[in-house]
C-alpha cells in the first residue's frame, strides 16, 4: 500500500500545481462579455478587461499610422461606440464595413474603447443569408488602387 500512498502524494502535488497555474491563468486573462449599452451606462466598466460585440459602421474605418479607428453599433438600441485598435497583429481579412466585430480591450475614461485584439465575422462567412448582401464597400485600404 505504501507505493500507492507515495504515488498519491506525487499526483496530488502535480494536480495542485496545475490547478494553481490554471487559477492564476484565469485571473490574468478573464474577459467579461459586455454590450455597448452596458459600457455606455455603467462607468465602473472603465479599465476592466471586457469583450464587446457590434457591427462595424460603414465608412467609419480610418487608419492612422499603426492605429485603426472605427465605430461599432449596437443595432437594437442604436448605440455607437468609438473603438481604437491598438494591437499589433494585422486585422482579420473579414474585418470591414458591416462585419460583426468582436473587440477585446478596455474602456477608457474618455469613453473610447481601446481594443487589443479584434475578431470579425463577415456576414457571409459560411451561411449566406439571402436577406443580407455581403458588405457593399470593402475595407477601403484593401481595394487595389487600380479599380
Amino acid at each position: 500500500m505504501k507505493t500507492y500512498v507515495k504515488f498519491g502524494i506525487v499526483m496530488v502535488g502535480i494536480i495542485g500545481t496545475l490547478v494553481w497555474l490554471a487559477a492564476s491563468g484565469i485571473n490574468e486573462s478573464k474577459t467579461y462579455y459586455r454590450t455597448v449599452s452596458e459600457l455606455k451606462t455603467d462607468s465602473s466598466q472603465v479599465g476592466k478587461r471586457v469583450r464587446v460585440t457590434g457591427d462595424v459602421v460603414p465608412g467609419s474605418i480610418r487608419r492612422e499610422g499603426t492605429l485603426v479607428h472605427f465605430r461599432i453599433v449596437e443595432k437594437e438600441h442604436n448605440l455607437f461606440l468609438n473603438v481604437t485598435y491598438t494591437g499589433k497583429d494585422p486585422l482579420p481579412d473579414t474585418f470591414r464595413d458591416n462585419a460583426q466585430a468582436m473587440a477585446d480591450g478596455q474602456l477608457t475614461a474618455q469613453g473610447t474603447f481601446h481594443a487589443s485584439s479584434i475578431a470579425a465575422k463577415c456576414p457571409s462567412k459560411y451561411e449566406a443569408d439571402p436577406n443580407k448582401h455581403p458588405a457593399d464597400v470593402p475595407l477601403n485600404s484593401a481595394k487595389p488602387a487600380a479599380i
Binding site: 494536480i15 496545475l18 491563468g25 484565469i26 480610418r62 499603426t66 459560411y126 451561411e127 481595394k143 487595389p144
Partner: protein
C-alpha cells in the same frame, strides 16, 4: 439526378436502421443469416453514399447552380480543385463527407475483421451503424445537401454562385477538413471494438491489437489534420500564428490528447493486464470528444472564428451524446468484474508509473483545454455572466504540461518495468542529464533569457540523447552478432520491433516540433508605413519596399508589394506579399509572403495602402525563429507512425517456425 442523390441518402438511412436491428437481434438469437445481412447492409450504405457524394461533387464540378449548395459554395471562376473542396466547404456537404467516411471505415472494418472476431462483429456493426444512423438522420432530415433552388414564376436562375470562402482557397485548407474528419470519424472504430468486447466478454487480447492499430491510424490522421490546420493558419491568416486556442482548434486537440493517452496506457493492458477500466474510459471519451468537437464546431455555442453559422444541430448532437454516454457508463459498470486488474503497481520508480503519470498529465491537459473552451458557457450557466479566458490561460497551463510530457518521453523508455533502483537510474540518465545541462547552458549563452524556452531546449537534448542511446544499444548488439554496419543494423533493429522503435521515431518527431514551438519565445515583429522606394530594418534584416503592382484575373483582383530583403547589405530574396479582393464574395484577403529557412522565417504581410497619406504602404514584418522545425518534426512523426504500422519481423517469423513444412513448400512453389 438530385432526386437520385436524395433517394440514395434516404435508402442508406433505412439500411442503417435495418443493420442495427438485424445485428442486435441476430446476435441475441444466434441467427447468422440476420447478422450477415446486417453486415451486407453496411456495404450497401457505402455504395449508396458514394453515389450521393459523387452526384454532389459532379454538380459542384459542373457548376450546376440549380443546387442551393452549389450556388452558395462555388462559382465558375474557382479553380477545379477548390470546386471539389467545396464538397466540405459548407455544413450540408461536410456532414455528407462525415457520413461517407464513416461508411467507408465501416466497410473496411467489416471486410478485414469479419472472420477474425465472429462473436464480436455483430455488435461492432451495430455500434458503427447506430452512429451512421445518427449522421444519416442529419443528412436526411436536418441538413439535406440536395436542396434545389426554385426557378420559374418570376424567379430567375442563379447565373453564378457565391464562391467558396476565399480564406479556404488554399491548398492545405483543401485537404485539412477531410484528414481531420478521417481522424474524428475513425475513433468510432476503437470505441465499437471496445464496447463489443465488453458486451461479449472477450477473453484474450487479440481485439486489443486490432483496436490499437485502428487507434494509431486515426491518431495519425488526426495529427495530420491538426497540423495542416496549423500550417494553414500560419500561411494564410496573416498574423503568423499557427495555434490560437480557438474553440474549434481545441475541439480537434481534445480527442487527440485522450487518444495519445490511450495509445500509451493500452501497452499497460497488453503487457501487464492493468488499467482495463481506465482504457475503456479513454477509448470512450475519445469518441465522445470527437462527437463533442463536431457539436462545438457546428452548433455555434461558443464564438469562434471557425464556427459555422448558428444551426439547429446542437440539440441533436447533445441528444446523441447523452444516449451513448449513458449506455457506455452502464455497460462499463456492469462489466467491472471482467475488467479487474491482474497485477498491481509495485514502485513509483517504474515504467508502469511513468505511464500513469503520462496519462494523468494528458488528462489534466484535456481537462484544462475543455474547461477553458467551455468557460463562457459554464460561467453563464453558473454565475449568469459570460466570462471568457484567452490564450494566456491555455499557455500557462499547457506549456508546463508539455514540458513535463517531454521529460517523461525521455524517462519512460529507460526505466524498467516493475521497479527501478536509483543506482540503475543514475547509470541510465548519466549522459542524457549532461546533454540537458549542456543544451540549457548553450541556449543561455546564445542569449535566451526565457525560462521555458531554455528548459525546452534542454529537455529536447535530453530526450534526443535517450532515443539515440536506445537505437545505438540495440543496433550495436545486432551489428556485433551479424556483422552488419550500424546503419543497416539499426534498420534491422527497427524492423524487428516496429512498435517500439517506430514509437521512438514519433517521440523524436515530437521533440523536433518542441524545438519549433520554443522558437516562438523569440518572435519579433513590426508594423511600418513606408513610402514606396524607402526601406526599414528589423532583426538584422533590411526591407526595401521597391514598388506596388496590381492586376486581376476572373477570380480576384490583387495588389502586390515587392519587397527586397537584405542582410548585411547583401540581397537575399524578393518577397511579394499580396492583397486580394475576391470578385464574387467581395472578400479581401491577404496573401503573405514567407522566406522559410531552418533558423528563422521572414514573414511579410501587406496590409494595404495608407488612407491618410499618399504612396505609403503598410507593411507588417515578422521574424519567426525555428518555425520550420514544427513541419519537419511533423514529417518525422508521420514517418514514425507509419513505421509503427509495419508488422514486426519478430511477429512474422513466429508462425513461420510453427509451420515450417508448408512454408518450405510454398517457397519452392514460388521459385
Amino acid at each position: 439526378m438530385e432526386t437520385l442523390g436524395a433517394l440514395a441518402i434516404l435508402v442508406a438511412f433505412c439500411l442503417a436502421i435495418y443493420s442495427v436491428v438485424a445485428s442486435v437481434v441476430g446476435a441475441l438469437t444466434k441467427r447468422p443469416y440476420l447478422t450477415v445481412s446486417g453486415q451486407r447492409a453496411v456495404y450497401g450504405i457505402f455504395a449508396l453514399l458514394t453515389v450521393a457524394s459523387a452526384i454532389l461533387v459532379y454538380a459542384l464540378m459542373t457548376s450546376d447552380f440549380r443546387f442551393a449548395y452549389v450556388a452558395a459554395r462555388s462559382n465558375k471562376a474557382m479553380p477545379a480543385v477548390y470546386k471539389f473542396a467545396a464538397w466540405w466547404g459548407g455544413q450540408e456537404g461536410s456532414l455528407l463527407l462525415w457520413s461517407w467516411l464513416l461508411s467507408f471505415y465501416s466497410a473496411v472494418v467489416l471486410a478485414t475483421n469479419r472472420r477474425k472476431f465472429r462473436d464480436m462483429m455483430p455488435w461492432v456493426t451495430a455500434i458503427l451503424m447506430f452512429t451512421q444512423g445518427f449522421f444519416l438522420t442529419l443528412n436526411t432530415f436536418i441538413e439535406p445537401p440536395f436542396q434545389m433552388l426554385a426557378v420559374g414564376r418570376g424567379i430567375t436562375a442563379v447565373q453564378d454562385g457565391q464562391g467558396l470562402n476565399p480564406l479556404l482557397q488554399y491548398w492545405t485548407m483543401a485537404i485539412h477538413p477531410p484528414t481531420l474528419y478521417l481522424g474524428y470519424v475513425g475513433f468510432v472504430v476503437p470505441f465499437a471494438f471496445a464496447m463489443a468486447s465488453l458486451i461479449t466478454k472477450q477473453r484474450g487480447d487479440a481485439w486489443i491489437a486490432t483496436t490499437r492499430r485502428w487507434s494509431l491510424i486515426t491518431w495519425g490522421f488526426q495529427s495530420m489534420g491538426i497540423l495542416l490546420g496549423a500550417g494553414w493558419a500560419y500561411a494564410v491568416l496573416g498574423w503568423g500564428g499557427y495555434w490560437g486556442w480557438d474553440p474549434v482548434e481545441n475541439a480537434s486537440l481534445l480527442p487527440w490528447l485522450t487518444a495519445t493517452a490511450f495509445l500509451h496506457s493500452v501497452m499497460m493492458q497488453e503487457k501487464k493486464g492493468m488499467m482495463k477500466v481506465w482504457n475503456m474510459v479513454l477509448v470512450s471519451s475519445t469518441f465522445f470528444l470527437c462527437i463533442f468537437g463536431t457539436f462545438l464546431t457546428r452548433s455555434g455555442i461558443v464564438s469562434s472564428v471557425h464556427a459555422f453559422a448558428q444551426s439547429s444541430l446542437g440539440g441533436w448532437f447533445l441528444g446523441f451524446l447523452g444516449i451513448i454516454i449513458t449506455l457506455t457508463v452502464m455497460l462499463i459498470v456492469r462489466r467491472l468484474d471482467y475488467l479487474r486488474s491482474e497485477t498491481h503497481l509495485e514502485s513509483v520508480l517504474s515504467r508502469e508509473s511513468s505511464f500513469l503519470f503520462n496519462n494523468l498529465i494528458l488528462l489534466a491537459s484535456t481537462f484544462a483545454v475543455l474547461w477553458g473552451t467551455m468557460f463562457p458557457v459554464l460561467t453563464e450557466y453558473v454565475m449568469n455572466e459570460k466570462i471568457t479566458v484567452g490564450a494566456p490561460f491555455f499557455n500557462k497551463v499547457n506549456i508546463p504540461i508539455g514540458l513535463f510530457l517531454l521529460l517523461l518521453t525521455g524517462v519512460g523508455p529507460l526505466i524498467a518495468w516493475r521497479r527501478s533502483s536509483w543506482e540503475s537510474l543514475r547509470r541510465a540518465f548519466y549522459w542524457p542529464t549532461i546533454m540537458f545541462a549542456a543544451a540549457v547552458a548553450a541556449s543561455i549563452a546564445m542569449g535566451s533569457r526565457h525560462f521555458y524556452a531554455s528548459m525546452s531546449f534542454g529537455l529536447c537534448a535530453f530526450v534526443t540523447t535517450t532515443i539515440m542511446m536506445e537505437f545505438y544499444k540495440g543496433s550495436r548488439a545486432i551489428a556485433g552478432k551479424s556483422g552488419m554496419n550500424l546503419v543497416r543494423a539499426s534498420i534491422e533493429l527497427t524492423h524487428r520491433n516496429t512498435r517500439r522503435y517506430g514509437g521512438y521515431m514519433v517521440h523524436m518527431g515530437i521533440v523536433i516540433m518542441f524545438i519549433g514551438f520554443s522558437g516562438a519565445a523569440f518572435n519579433k515583429d513590426t508594423t511600418r508605413e513606408v513610402v514606396v522606394g524607402d526601406r526599414f530594418a528589423m532583426g538584422g534584416y533590411e526591407f526595401h519596399v521597391d514598388k506596388i503592382t496590381d492586376g486581376d484575373n476572373p477570380n480576384y483582383t490583387w495588389q502586390r508589394a515587392e519587397v527586397g530583403i537584405y542582410k548585411d547589405g547583401r540581397f537575399l530574396q524578393e518577397l511579394k506579399p499580396e492583397r486580394r479582393v475576391y470578385l464574387v464574395s467581395e472578400q479581401p484577403t491577404s496573401e503573405v509572403s514567407i522566406r522559410r529557412r531552418l533558423n528563422e522565417d521572414v514573414y511579410l504581410n501587406f496590409a494595404g495602402m495608407s488612407q491618410t497619406e499618399e504612396n505609403k504602404a503598410i507593411i507588417q514584418a515578422y521574424i519567426f525563429p525555428l518555425v520550420s522545425w514544427i513541419w519537419i518534426g511533423f514529417a518525422v512523426l508521420m514517418f514514425g507512425t507509419a513505421v509503427c504500422l509495419v508488422p514486426s519481423k519478430a511477429r512474422l517469423s513466429y508462425p513461420r517456425t510453427e509451420v515450417v513444412g508448408i512454408h518450405a513448400e510454398e517457397k519452392s512453389l514460388a521459385k
